[in-house]
Amino acid sequence: MLARSPNGLGSSLLVAALLVAALVAGGVELRADPLDLRPVKVDAKRIEPGSPQAEDTAFSTSVDATRAATEGGGVAEHLARSVGVQVRRSGGHGDFASVLIRGSSANQVGVFLDGIPLALGRGGIFDLSLVPLLSIARVDVFRGYLPAELGSEGIGGGINLVPGAAPARPRTRLSMGVGSFDLVQVGASRSARRGPLRYALSLGFSRATNDFSFFSDNDTPYQLGDDRWLRRKNNESLLFSGLGWARWRVSRDLRITFLQSLFYKEKGLPGPGAVQALSTRLQALHEVFDVKLEQRRFLVPSMSAMLRVNVQYSRDRLEDPQGELPTGAKRQSDTSVSLGAIGRLSFAPHDPQIISLIPEWRYEQYAGRDPGRELPSARRYRFGLALRDRIALGEDLATLTPVVRADLLYSDVSGSRNGLEPLRNSFDWFLSPRLGGRVRLWRGLELRGNVGRYFRPPSLLELFGNRGTALGNPDLVPEVGTSGDLGMILRLRRRGRALERLLIEAVFFARDSQNLIQWVQNSQRTAVAMNISRALALGGELSGAVWLRLHSQLRARLSTNYTLLHTQNRSGKPLLDGNRLPGRPLHELNGRADLVWRKDRWGVGIHWSVTYISHSFLDEANAFLPVPQRALHEVGLVVRPWLRGVTLAATFKNVANLRVERVAAPAFTGLRRIPRALMDYGGYPLPGWEVFVNATWSFDDPRGEQKGSAHHARP
């Protein structure tokens, strides 16, 4: 979605900057104006030696979080409309959602905050609902490929949550929204520059009761006589977030960046099925502190260095005072602490070539507490080292970026399993080579391809269990995935008077995942993690967008993406082998149309979007929970009245109020079709139509542009 930069460096630089801009925070100014349909641009003079712009071959998508926040919903909900991304939600604002990329599993997708890995070792999955859209500026999705700085633990790819940048003028932004099911959402942000110092701070709060009505079959799917409508209970959510960063330019070549984030969530857990748990609750806290030093002209003019150190703390507390969950745990608390460091030493022997050495070290510790039993505590040490060489040919006509990364992991646990025998330790090492290439075929048309090998180490829970129903298996080996893609990107600009821009992207991809870890029930009461499975994913992604200038004051944007995703269980297990993986539809189509009228300060915009999926199953066996097809529509309205800096938006989701799906019934029932609640997980209904109304006030200090700014966004 980018036009060529004026200085002729080519779209590759712009793409690279977008893709990995989080690692050079402050390089992008976003278009937070919902009425501005133009794509985001970055003006970059040259490839900074050692900057992550060195990897510009990945297929990725960026979601403007600031704009998305005006439409309501969370990170996962907006990612669901991105090409190649599948999302499974459990229902309601602040709900847990798993994000899959190109048919991967959720724990095969790396999640990062400004390049800092968030999915710590205990469970391996980060709850994206912890991070509200209000607290970040952009979400980058790397499909099937990870830049070397983001490690190798992303068989499916990665999601990078990018904090806001400091604009040219100090800016204050206030946002307030209300919505269905008692949703209240407020946010405030402030970003400014003062001499060599830049900073940004955002605070956000939201709550909702999520007491939507849903269709219940009373857990008797073949008995229609007891079906009824219920209301979701104990589904309240409360989210608080704070994210701030400050960058100090010590000298022309040295800058230091501090980042602090705090995400807190309280959520009721009604559980699956018709009988809802009324007192179970989850509290989640995640805190990150990071310091980054970046030095250009390190030792020699053609060398640069970066070092960042971060500390993370996370705590999940599950309360079940009435014992409504099958685990029997009344109150369980899981705490994780992580200390990490990553460096980058880059050498640019001549301008288009950059050689980077990227070491990483991380320590994680997990401890669980349950008043009723002793839980194990576990630790993990990891060390990684990557070598990357970006080779450019011609005047950026083509680039080739080979990367090789090695990772060593050592995990151990204190205590014993079920008090019966001491647990062993676990040592893994992994080599992940990657190769990306890009060729500019002619003006506006680019061919890209990537191939790489990634891994997912067993989580600490999978290795050592929880002394309850989950038994650990210290002999687990990492999951391994080999993935590749090949595609083309076409960008055209100002073809004719009406057509302003055109973007088309077509990609073919494939991935073979082996040694997949699954929980296998080995007794009535317990399950053990085993390397037992294998999966294949291949398909294609086709996306396009066109910007139209219908009139001097009237613009339109039409965008669509289609993902063809064929997944296959290759475990060899009867009735599972050959099946489609659950939650990965064969067909997914997203479309959106925006129409904006602007005159002076006034502006009105409307949008319509639709998400269509088909040929999906929610269960591994592909027998119990089919999802034949589903279409969800959304419409929105944005108004900018005469009040300076004020924007009003209203978004209506699932306008057709789809809450019941009719699915084929098994032959033995004698029924043809049976009704079932709309859901992504069995037993977790999704809400029907919702409305979200948002008011945003944004103003820049009238003190003019501050000195020291290195990056600007220009129309």
Binding site: Y222, G225, G372, L420, G572
Partner: protein
């Protein structure tokens, strides 16, 4: 008395919010495609089945089919039928919940869909077609987790709900929603968490005996001493007594010792092997004795049967490694190996009338049923008879008459 087993219903329930929302949105957004919401005609499962209340004659012929309840955790389960003569399996003749067991009564298969489903499905014993599915939740906000079903006649049965402190009186032929017609209070036998964990039932000498496990859910489901055998008089549907058991955590079916009024049950103890084994209960004297410990047997008992000689086979599981073995035992204390520990992932065993043993095998890539000679422990199958999904852990086997 005749009652219909099912009825046709027009599915016209509308949520008031839906009606208003649909009207407004359709008016404003009439050009949009999409579903309007639930509606249309639907038919309840199964034909109308006429049921005449009264006792059912016992099946006297030899079993001809083996019903295997299978489970695919997180997805669901299935009913697989194996013809005992041809050994041909009919895989997934019906689909169930993933925590499931079955009973045979009145020529029909009664599927107990347990934790998370709380319903019973009745299948025709010949065609395997669904005749009725009904919820067994005592109330809309209460769970049951049906563990056992004990029939008196076609219109009267006891249902044990693992999550409740009551045993429920059931009339399966009643109109939908009216199947639970009463309950028997067992809360006096509960442990500190208020739930006694009532599981399997057996009729002996005109009384009904119910296993009461008493597990503390707040501390890892540890047993609370003592466990009980509750005694209910079906003539009055009241709790008339209880017997404190010599071992804790009576899991699995209550098996009658042939030609006696004694019952035998597997005691799980604290799941570590301590205080576990086979518990023999003298219902007349009200006493019990651990006749074989888990140490004698080689592990925790998952499943067993008794023949007319007071002997049988048991599947045992080593609590440390979760490996399983099949042993031959007699109630006089003798134990002999049959299938060595770790050879297969066994969960249940049953004896066919002709001296064959059927044993479940949950091997990940080849789950199924293995058949052994009960006298020699020689395996008669070269590979497991496929069951589709893996055989379940809890009471997954049922021997029933041959198909007519």
């Amino acid at each position: 008395m005749t009652r219909g087993g099912s009825r046709k219903a027009r599915h016209t329930m509308r949520d008031p919010e839906t009606a208003l929302a649909d009207g407004v949105l359709v008016l404003l957004l009439a050009t949009l495609a999409g579903c309007v919401g639930p509606g249309g005609e639907a038919v309840d499962a199964g034909p109308d089945v006429e049921v005449v209340c009264g006792p059912v004659a016992q099946d006297t012929g030899p079993p001809g089919r083996l019903i295997v309840m299978t489970e695919q955790y997180g997805s669901g389960g299935g009913v697989t039928i194996i013809d005992l003569e041809t050994l041909e399996p009919s895989i997934n003749v019906a689909l169930t919940h993933d925590d499931v067991t079955a009973r045979w009564y009145d020529g029909r298969i009664w599927i107990l869909n347990r934790f998370g489903a709380d319903n019973i499905m009745i299948l025709d014993g010949q065609s395997y077609q669904l005749q009725k599915q009904f919820s067994v939740r005592p109330a809309a906000s209460q769970v049951c987790n049906p563990h056992d079903l004990l029939f008196f006649d076609r219109c009267r049965a006891y249902l044990s709900c693992y999550e409740q402190a009551r045993v429920y009186l059931l009339d399966p032929a009643a109109p939908l929603g009216d199947e639970i017609v009463g309950s028997i209070d067992l809360s006096s036998l509960a442990d500190g968490d208020g739930i006694p964990e009532v599981s399997y039932m057996a009729r002996v000498g005109g009384l009904v005996y119910l296993a009461v496990e008493r597990l503390d859910r707040a501390s890892g489901w540890s047993p609370v001493e003592p466990s009980y055998l509750a005694v209910v008089d079906p003539a009055t549907d009241t709790l008339v007594g209880s017997m404190a058991l010599a071992a804790t955590n009576p899991v699995g079916p209550l098996v009658r010792v042939p030609s006696t009024e004694d019952l035998v049950v597997a005691a799980g103890g604290d799941w570590t092997g301590e205080g576990a084994g086979l518990l023999r209960i003298d219902t007349g004297a009200g006493t019990s004795e651990l006749v074989l410990t888990s140490g004698d047997l080689g592990g925790l008992v998952s499943s067993f049967y008794l023949d007319s000689g007071g002997c049988g086979h048991a599947v045992v599981m080593a609590p440390q490694t979760y490996e399983t073995a099949l042993v031959r035992f007699c109630l006089d204390g003798t134990v002999a190996p049959c299938v060595p520990m770790g050879a297969h992932e066994m969960t249940a065993v049953a004896l066919v009338h002709d001296g064959r043993l059927v044993v479940t095998d949950r091997a990940y890539l080849a789950p199924g049923i293995r058949i052994y000679d009960a006298a020699t422990c020689e395996e008669l199958t070269q590979e497991p008879i496929a069951t589709g999904f893996s055989p379940g852990f809890s009471d997954p086997l049922l021997l029933v008459p041959a198909r007519r």
